[in-house]
């Protein structure tokens, strides 16, 4: 049985659909990419799973199964506890994800203490272990630092450590390297892969960067307008995408080893076809 299973998930803001009948599965220990351009809804899926959808946005249909439990049938308090113990988030922007007014150490250990009921000493010991694991030198000193005193790469490592703190079985990584320099990105990707392998965690990796997908992920789901266009293995995709839109996306991604290839923006015809697909889907639901 898959660890995470989304069945026909529908999310709306008012009458506007944001996710249209999204279905996907993540097995234990699997690394799956959620790919799409901005506005495709990939972040929304992560938020729906973790229960962090903004107030105006609501799940209007479908199911989310986390380790066999249907999240939609649980009471809010039970849902929060279940999600908190089994899942975690690596956010996009390390600067805004950390409270600039508090030292870094307590921000990680508090999660263990407040949400999972650990003892303060145990929590702090675990944090130091984790900081070692993410290759942060002098973890005791870093724990007492404020976020702005650390580099972007370091902050992201801390957020990664924080995500793995309670040994979650699923991590949602929401564009975790988008804000980083390319050299730092490679280090962080390597770190995420190593941690994921070591802890056996399933990883749902939200990104718009097909390059990153090809290096890190085993399977992928391509989204447009909140609708799943393609669901396949990374191997198969890069040998030849099935959907016209995904193929166009690939063609538009610059490859420096191929400088003479014309950069093709996604053709109008392809966009129109996808929009028609979506309109058709909406019609059938009425």
């Amino acid at each position: 049985m898959s660890f995470l299973k989304l069945e026909g998930l529908n999310v709306r803001v008012g009458s506007l659909p944001i996710l249209r009948d999204v279905s996907l599965q993540v097995e234990s220990g699997e690394v799956r990419a959620l790919v799409g351009e901005s506005g495709a809804g990939k972040s929304m899926i992560g938020k729906a799973i973790l229960g962090t959808l903004p107030d105006a946005i609501a799940v209007t249909g479908g199911r989310i199964y986390l380790d066999g439990d249907d999240l939609m049938t649980l009471a809010a308090k039970d849902r929060r506890r279940l999600i908190g113990s089994k899942a975690a988030l690596i956010p996009q922007d390390p600067l805004t994800a950390l409270n600039p007014a508090r030292r870094v150490g307590p921000q990680i250990s508090n999660r263990l203490v407040d949400i999972l009921g650990w003892r303060r000493q145990d929590a702090e010991k675990r944090v130091i272990e984790l900081l070692h694991e993410v290759h942060i030198p002098a973890p005791e000193r870093v724990m007492r630092a404020y976020p702005h005193e650390l580099s972007g790469g370091m902050r992201q490592r801390i957020l990664i450590a924080s995500a793995f703190a309670a040994e979650p079985r699923l991590i949602v990584a929401d564009e975790p390297t988008t804000a980083l320099d390319v050299t730092v990105q490679k280090q962080i990707l390597r770190l995420i892969r190593d941690m994921q392998r070591r802890h056996g965690t399933a990883l749902l990796f939200v990104t718009h960067d097909l390059g990153v997908v090809s290096k890190l992920c085993q399977s992928m789901t391509v989204l447009y307008g909140g609708k799943v266009l393609e669901d396949t293995t990374v191997d198969q995709f890069f040998r030849g995408p099935a959907h016209a839109y995904s193929a166009a996306l690939l063609a538009a991604t610059p490859k420096y080893t191929d400088p003479d290839s014309s950069l093709m923006p996604v053709p109008e015809a392809v966009i129109r076809a996808v929009e028609a697909e979506i309109a058709d889907h909406d019609q059938r639901r009425l």
Binding site: E37, G39, A40, G225
Partner: protein, 283 residues
């Protein structure tokens, strides 16, 4: 996929309509006071003293909201009082706005030493307790409409300056300002053409707020008899008089109080309503 924003439906804003409506009625009533007022607001008639409002026993036609202990018609006095209130609101509000927003804009956009000078000035100025300052000012200048207006401007310009300075600073850091600089526009031109339009919504909201404040300040000052020196009726003085006779003739206090309340509320809600109206465009 179009990232373009959908056209935001302009919400029919009840707040905006109600407050603008009341203020519109007030302005018309104040302008047409000579036509609308049933009596001369200053005319005393001891035979018509303490008449109750129209729907009560013992009322007389010609005094729809009743009369005070000197026989003066409450409605007429409210209408003429509106003239004072609105005059103060308009003039004091506008002058405070121009002075405060102007200095704030210069300080926030130019930075450097103009900012240092103006900011220190604001800090020092705000250290003076406003009420005492007002009373002191009036003691020096004497009572009268001019004094009130000057007092309000002098005390409250810092409210504008601080907020507009912050806004000008944040707009000044935007790339569209850098773009204008690269194009070769002079600093003063950038301030007027690029920054001011973006700061204008905030200025307008503060302006309406300031008008409401001006009305209250005038009412307070006339309550303590520091306002205009003549016998012209003001809402504040009516409230002061009405307080003394509240048990015998409650209407002398209550009606000007309600009018004052509605007017100040309308000014502040007008500001809020205008802000909501501008926001979708900005975001």
């Amino acid at each position: 996929m179009a990232e373009g924003r959908m056209a935001v439906k302009r919400r029919i804003n009840p707040r905006l309509w109600l407050s603008a409506g009341w203020l519109f009625i007030l302005v018309v009533a104040a302008l047409a006071a000579p036509l609308l007022a049933p009596q001369d607001p200053l005319a005393q008639d001891l035979f018509a003293s303490r008449l109750p409002p129209l729907w009560q026993m013992g009322a007389e036609p010609g005094y729809p909201l009743g009369s005070d202990s000197l026989g003066r018609d409450v409605l007429s006095r409210i209408l003429y009082g509106a003239r004072i209130a609105l005059l103060v609101a308009l003039i004091a509000g506008t002058c405070t706005c121009i002075l405060g927003a102007g200095l704030g804009l210069i300080a926030g956009y130019y930075r450097g030493w103009p900012d240092m000078v103006i900011s220190r000035f604001i800090d020092i100025w705000m250290a003076f307790p406003p009420v005492l300052f007002a009373i002191l000012l009036i003691a020096v200048m004497g009572t009268g409409l001019t004094s009130i207006i000057v007092a309000i401007v002098v005390i409250d310009w810092t409210r504008f300056a601080r907020v507009i300075r912050a806004e000008a600073m944040s707009q000044g850091a935007m790339d569209y300002v850098a773009s204008a600089k690269v194009a070769g526009r002079a600093r003063f031109g950038i301030m007027l053409r690029e920054i001011l339009p973006n700061v204008l919504p905030t200025i307008i909201v503060l302006l309406t707020l300031e008008m409401g404040i001006a009305v209250i300040v005038e009412a307070i000052l006339s309550f303590v008899n520091l306002s205009i020196s003549t016998d012209d009726p003001t809402w504040g003085s009516m409230i002061a008089e009405g307080r003394a006779t509240i048990h015998q003739s409650w209407w002398v206090l209550v009606f000007p109080l309600i009018t004052l309340f509605l007017t100040v509320l309308s000014f502040s809600q007008l500001g809020e309503g205008l802000k909501d109206h501008f926001d979708p465009v900005l975001r």
